[in-house]
Amino acid sequence: MDLKYVGKNIARPDAAPKATGRVQFLDDIRLPGLLHAAFLRPEYAHAKIISIDTSEAEKCEGVVKVVTGRECRFRYGENIKDRLPMAVDRVRWIGEPVAAVVAESVHQAQLAVKKIKAVYEPLPVYIDARDSLKKDAVLIHEDAPNFVRLPGMEPVPGTNIANRYTLKKGDVGKGFAEAEVVVEGEFNYPFSSSAAIEPHGAIVWFHEDKTIEAWSSSICPFIVREDMAHVYGLPISDVRVHIPEIGGCFGYKSDVTIEQTVAYVASFVPGRPVKWVATRKEDLLSTLIGHGFRTQIKIGAKKDGSLTALKTTILHSTGASMDTGIHVLIACTHNSTGAYEFPHCHLEGLSVYTNTPPVGAYRGYGHQESQFAMERMMDILARKLRMDPFALREKNYLGPGKVTSLGERLWESNGDVKKCADRVRGIVFANKKKPAEDDRYYYGRGFAALMKSPKGASFSSKSCYLKFNSDGSVSINMGGAEVGQGLRTVVRQVAAEALKISPERIRVYTEIDTQFSPWEWQTIGSMFTIQGGRAILRAAEKAIAQMKRTASQVLRVDEDRLVYDGDSIYLNHDPGVRVAVTKLARGYTYDDGVTVGEVVHTTADARLPRQSNPDACGQGTMGITYTFGAQACEIRIEKATGRVLIDHFVSCFDVGKVINPRQIRGQVTGGVMMAIGSTLHEELKFTPDGQAVNPHFSKYRFPTILDAPKKQTVEFVETPEQIGPFGARGIGEHPVIGVAPAILNAVHDAIGVDFCEIPLTKEKVLQAITAKRAR
């Protein structure tokens, strides 16, 4: 297909407004009568609340209201209603809201919070699923079996197990009986934070007319709207949610998180808007955190390298609420096969309540955690089999005709992992040796293949409202959240291609407002380009058809004789007979003023085609395409310090079609850097009694420019996809998936030590080097 705009570096429409500081983020919003909230967080990570004395706080200057959870009568959650907007009689994690002060200024609210006196009776604290699973463990949610939840989610009564997910393919016993070699391992991907530079926040305003208006730096305005309407007994149409510019998401601003808490507080001061923006400490402890996965993995294989069986057990420390973590666990579990076909699988995941902040989406959504285990194990298995690790992988790659753990048969259009692997291998490994160890450094190279499965809900549509203006320019309104990924550019390019007009003639609406924006489930799962793009194509087709209908009247010819070229509609066998688009946008007006036809504006949506619920074995269809890729790196380890330096990081993904080369490179370089942070530096740490060790950027080791790889190579394979626009697949999350195993495989290559846990800090590496030398 000859494409004019797709595949080109079209400029971002939002770059200049952002670079001048003119765009409005949540904290930049000023409203008449705006009040500010600040929260009391608990002294203990798990405790009964004995009393809360707010009398001194109420006397403070500027204080309008002090709110506790005493009056709270509802729970919320999209999957299981195990979330409270504010602690009622017990606190379950260190960042939970215990009380709030609403005041005229943030400073006043924060000063008054210090005057609240809460008395607690401490309870045992569990920060790891392994501890809360112990037989005598205190139940974190005694009433868990009674929580309202979606079908298929079953807390195990009398335990802290919030849900057990099982997926079976074939007969795993038979698979291990056939195996000639078995390898086992346990891997840990600990807690960390999406940590966007813009902290999360919300504003909620209960109006006198009984409607609610809210603003949030969220990527799911329509879910927030429905959830609030449900809690406050209002028609959904009486809740209006605005999404201003979002300063990065990376997962944790999805799902309903802080909005219900701010709404609960604001409900005590109806008539005035209440704003809360997280401090960095609150952003790290009181929103959603990431990961917390332990993966036990056992792989069976024949001597020739054919994989026969996979058993994984994943323990998820899901935090004090499972609602936002359950699907991360499910994705983590069924993606533990990585990019390989196993004829027999038994994959199990346990969501376990812990006294830590609730885990939610984090870029990669479960994929990197279990594929970290799989890709490390592939290297380990290859060594055991005395096989080339690439040959072992190639023997087992998923691809056309192969079947995933979920029972989905793959087609050529699902992409080509081997092509990606070959590309990466050619750059890092082929025809060259790694540098020999010298006085200062060890050198290593590592590889990982990866698979990104789809993850959504069967009803998860994205919609497009498209309007032709009388000068032929086009306005497009979508419900997709721009978080920095560049979706407005993608919208422009896809629409320009579909409508055959220059991207400069297309303007994408910037704010999402549930009052005006077309419905979208939420902007997650690297699916905007595929689903949103498809919605644009469908809306464009409708608009062109509508113009043809009008033109057929004007030109007095049947519609099927007409051709659209962006400027005009003309008769295909006689292009001289034509009418300009500018004359059709509002219907066609004849010289005498009589007007025929319709205004050219259309709406369309695109959902995941045929996504199904799991069957009794946990199998089903995810409804949209898989994506494959491969990553590799060349590293150096500094002997004196143990520091791992990334000299070259290489990624290749089969994205179907590159829409915007510069933007997609930015997605990959950013994702790789984020995952290098997870691999080498970042961990949100808790003491055994649940206190946060490093909830500030000065202590939480966020990667800086000095941690960036010396060089990143980013390549793409383009095997066209059937669903996405012009063959495109998603890319947002994929770059984080193979990074940790690629680096840790390289560390093994460098010093011969197998690490199974991240972050692999320089202290751990130095210790290993010292131990090795001592031997």
Partner: protein, 159 residues
């Protein structure tokens, strides 16, 4: 204790009554409604709040407002004139360094202070300056590219 400070912001004189605890970021955002300066961490670790005070990059989240008396402040709002962008802004955009955009005002201001002081700085000096700015989106590659392009553009314009 309230006190009045007098200083200039983006060339215009301001006289503002402040409380002793207030930081420069509070004055800019909450008293002068200059919301282009961003709050990201409150412990001087992310660089989103950087503005230029008397020619030096300053983290406005820890800069006490009372120390501002008689000083001259430039913020992101002073970098473009309504029709044209500053070359640093142009360069960061061209390099693809603007994704979510939240860290960008701080980076623009830091580079402005750096390049105004001395334009022909080495890449190591640029890296050192940028190492005080956190960005979650880009992986820093495009930011470094943008910074070097900005240096080139400023040198060309200076002639």
């Amino acid at each position: 204790m309230a006190q009045t400070i007098t200083f200039t912001v983006n060339g215009s004189a301001k006289s503002v009554e402040i409380e002793g605890w207030e930081k420069l970021i509070d004055v800019l955002r909450d008293r002068l409604n200059l919301t282009g300066t961003k709050r990201g961490c409150d412990d001087a670790s992310c660089g989103a709040c950087v503005v230029v005070v008397d020619g030096e990059a300053a983290r406005s989240c820890v800069y006490l407002a009372k120390k501002l008396d008689g000083k001259s402040v430039v913020t992101i709002e002073g970098m473009s004139n309504g029709t044209a962008l500053h070359p640093i802004q142009e360069a960061l955009i061209e390099a693809g360094a603007v994704q979510c955009g939240y860290c960008i005002p701080g980076i623009v201001m830091a580079l402005y202070a750096l390049f105004t002081r001395k334009l022909d700085v080495s890449e190591d000096e640029i890296l050192e300056e940028l190492s005080h700015h956190l960005c979650r989106c880009t992986g820093y590659e495009a930011i470094l590219e943008g910074a070097r392009l900005a240096q080139k553009k400023m040198a060309e314009r200076r002639g």
